[in-house]
Subunit: 340 residues, 4 copies
């Protein structure tokens, strides 16, 4: 059996560990042959495919990034189903393992509906997929954001400043919630729960009054009470710069004006996406990789692997890509007890 | 309401985060007063109790160890229930939050059976409690072991050596399994699955033949096929030294003899217990701390907080302390696919 | 003898280790009494002074920031010499140890010229003081920048992008030079050596042509060939945001336009100033602290401690604050060999 | 010009960065061709030599270990000078760059005396070479030891224990001195300064009396007052185990007996040798690599590169390998002020 693997969408620590887990298990247990599809869907529509022998995945579990490259190409925009069929046929590819986020999995679902033998592996650094408890990459992103908060706190305290830290999370606040809790933030601001400047200032001042240097952790998709969530994407612009009016940038001066406390802003940006994966993410990604092989062998086309409690299971891609997993109000309120 | 908190048993990253979570929530939401019981049960039988105001727990989420100190004292050996009642009465203590492992939780259960208002928080760096998916400390221990394996690997490769890495796990192999998977070990040896030297040598040689420097991760409680699991505790002796015949030490020369590959041993020991907790452990520990307050307020005496999937729930201490959570054979076999 | 200590200017990892080294040596060897001057010169002109017993400095060697706080107050703007004399007299302060950068040491020199018993400790995260081989804080900043480059590289490679990384260094390029060398950058841009876009594009394209994801490390004070070095400070604005037209932000789009390679920008900003100091900085800062006590005991007023090779010596503040230590052209050319 | 490179002796973080620096500079600036000599002198006497094109050294600056492998082979034991000449002639090798410690450099000196074109690069993780201020690897080892002390301290404090931490240093105490200073140790024990148990106990008890958990950092070559320094090597035995009677193991129980304080021992061993080099070591190693090319081009046979202050210079191998660089008594006494 010949299996193609692709990684699509934004970079995420653990992609290489998924590839390694799948190739080693498929090669050793089932004698499968693997093909590397370059740069996500692009390689599948443009026929950019390389052999992926077991030797080439050795030592990958601890390596960040993806040896296959990635892109944001959508197979239906660029050539579409016929081209995919043609390239698969050309390489005698029996199945495809597609590793990616909501967009990638939606495309995978459509291809499966068209009869393509495809299995998905969820990849969302934001942890916004409802069909899995966690995905690899999230833990590493939270760890990096938390270590950054630890570093920024000492400087904020030395200067008696407030520090606004913008972390990833365009539509959900999971990274902000976990990094804020871990870093002992005095305020956590997430897309799911708009807040007024008055409330934010109250948290900041109450922290200052107790002798703390207030740390405000804000997800890039957070909006102030009454603001509309902009349709335009937020956070980093085409040049990786904090967007004009990126929330961190906008919030800093407002906090300083409202509280009179000197305020600085740090936008973590791409730092949260790269580098060596945490042990947690290496284990989860490896299990997703070997789990994807099980799904292929059982011909569970149109499904993706998923973490349920401590078990790796499979779920139908139709159920996997419909609901955004947002932070429940109860989790936010629980965290808010520690603010101020 | 006046609540005493104690931490008991071996050190574990996240203990301080539990204390902080409990004190801040209890103080802010319920106006509770907190008392710090020094050095686990010892403080409760010897009346070594201090005030624990909110101010004293600030910044604790990222601090390793426990500000309350710990010991291995058993309340029933030392003074017992009457003494506990007396000390609690003396301090007008309405309830106790006991943070500890299997022994501590068993003692807590017995005290609850005697009518003491007590709530448990599970603490097991080995992840060996069946009543919770995970506990704080485990993730940090796995991360430290994994980083150590990454470091040891480069040296093993430079010298074309085999490296035997002994990690914690007297009765269960969770740390070995996860650190071994994350570190890309060529063999993982756990108490649950005895192996023959022949099998171990086969894995080591197969790795060497493919040009790898074989890394063997062994849990301190692993036994060779046919060996009895010693009743005597293993790993570190009274002086923190690898016990004479500690498994890592014993295995190293045997691997070298069996394979002819120069072999070194590293025993990680206490390094796995200390230092700054990972973000994952800070979040989980904080949630356990606030969850313990909920259990106290709901007067769920004789229960402990527990992680189920992504939710913090409570379970009866009678169910919590009976079954050891071992590594299922299926999980081990899944990992073994990546050996050699 | 009663000695006041102050920390002034921007935060820098190792400040607390200097304080600890000075207090412990002075207390134990010379029976000196220490006073903590809050927030740099502000505390000395506004009489904000606290006792600083040995107990209060315990465990500080590994703690980032400064327990004394810091500010950018200039004693001559705010009250000046008479006020300093008055506050010192009020506290029977025999001498002052001033820990800070070029501005602080210049102020210290002027105070010494006026007969104040003062000894300096150089603090420059940028490593821009000619009178010392290195100062504490620089090594930590370089380490953080290097780890960031390592992380950003994996993502750049996955996306086949160029990454522009802006590091600290308004007037000198030491952090950019060392972090760029350590991170294996394909181009390093420093204030001392303006470059044309053509040259930068050549380095970026040559890296791309050899299959690398080009990493461009740029110091905030770098200027393109022919540009004037702006009088206005660069890098972070009053709100800690990358200045409109901050060099990283400006360079990213220009690189993309010139090379056609998708380019992202990361501005490390405050992350480089905070957190746990590296072991190197802890040792150097501790030695500077104990060295400052020697200078006080020997009444070397108007001097500062300095690192010369492996020795801690003292130099006259008049010689210490006149020449900016820039990156020699030979060091830059040596590094440039590894570009592209 | 055809240049062979070898790495010899114990593993050390930065070896790969030296190789990269040399190959890239030699290839780009001088059009030199490089040959990789496998496993140190072994490859040179057994003719195990591979091409080492620039492409193969890419990305090596941050990679621990050595891609050339290493061994403790002595060229004069195994085949000797004639064999070296023969292998060099066979590969038309004009010169050799030998990267290694005291033994390697002594062999290099003898070969140079015999007319072999050879240049040395000092590699000593112990920092025990008098002819250079520092060498790569030392900073990383100190950083790892310091981080370990930080971790062990929290556990020692939670259990009110004393912790004895054995670090590398058979003949000199530099790693112990720097890691002990950085970690805030309550006692540092080095080969250069024997101490009595009475003195050690005094330090430990004084720390305990001030409420600290005493951390004793001991170099593997330390001897108690009156003890002879054993001729037999210390620290790790042939199986990487703490030697029976390794100093850490022996000291732990003695400290516990003398003070009544529960004491644990941690032997860091190989952890100090492996893994990603610190930024400091990457920069120094890279500079040594490019410096070695300068020495080759200038035909400075029989010399080695060396760090003097901030400059890379060359020194005659005859002067480089005669004097062991020990910790001066003044540096030790300075550190001892912070003990207890």
């Amino acid at each position: 059996m010949r299996i193609g693997i692709l990684t699509s969408g934004g970079d995420c620590p653990g992609l290489n560990a998924v590839i390694r887990g799948a190739v080693v298990k498929g090669d050793r247990i089932h004698g499968q042959t693997f093909l590397g599809i370059k740069d996500g869907w692009r390689g599948l529509v443009e026929d950019d495919v390389i052999p992926l022998p077991r030797h080439d995945v050795r030592g990958l579990s601890r390596q960040g990034g993806t040896i296959l490259g990635t892109s944001r190409t959508n197979p239906f925009d660029d050539g579409g189903i016929d081209q995919v069929r043609k390239v698969m046929a050309h390489h005698e590819m029996d199945a495809v393992i597609a590793i990616g986020g909501e967009g990638t999995l939606t495309a995978a679902r459509r291809l499966a509906d068209e009869g393509i033998n495809i299995v998905g592996v969820p990849k969302t650094i934001d942890n916004d997929l409802s069909a899995t408890d966690y995905t690899f990459g999230f833990d590493t992103a939270v760890e990096i954001a938390t270590e950054s908060i630890d570093r920024l706190r000492t400087t904020a305290e030395s200067h008696h400043r407030c520090m606004v830290v913008e972390v990833m999370g365009r539509h959900v606040g999971w990274i902000a919630l976990h990094a804020g809790l871990a870093g002992g933030a005095q305020a956590i601001l997430i897309p799911e729960v708009p807040q007024s400047m008055g409330q934010i200032a109250e948290w900041v001042e109450s922290a200052r009054d107790r002798g703390r240097a207030p740390i405000v952790v804000v997800a890039e998709g957070f909006t102030l009470d009454g603001e509309e969530h902009p349709d335009a994407p937020r956070g980093l612009d085409a040049f990786g710069r904090p967007r004009l009016g990126g929330i961190g940038e906008r919030l800093g001066p407002m906090v300083e004006d409202a509280t009179g406390i000197e305020t600085r802003v740090a936008t973590l940006g791409h730092l949260q996406r790269g580098g060596v994966p945490s042990a947690y993410d290496r284990v989860l990604a490896t299990r997703f990789g070997t789990g994807a092989i099980d799904a292929v062998v059982e011909q569970k086309w149109g499904t993706m692997v998923s973490l349920s409690g401590t078990e790796v299971v499979t779920v139908d891609l139709h159920d996997a890509t419909t609901v955004l997993k947002t932070v429940p109000r109860s989790r936010y309120d629980e965290a808010a007890i520690l603010f101020g």
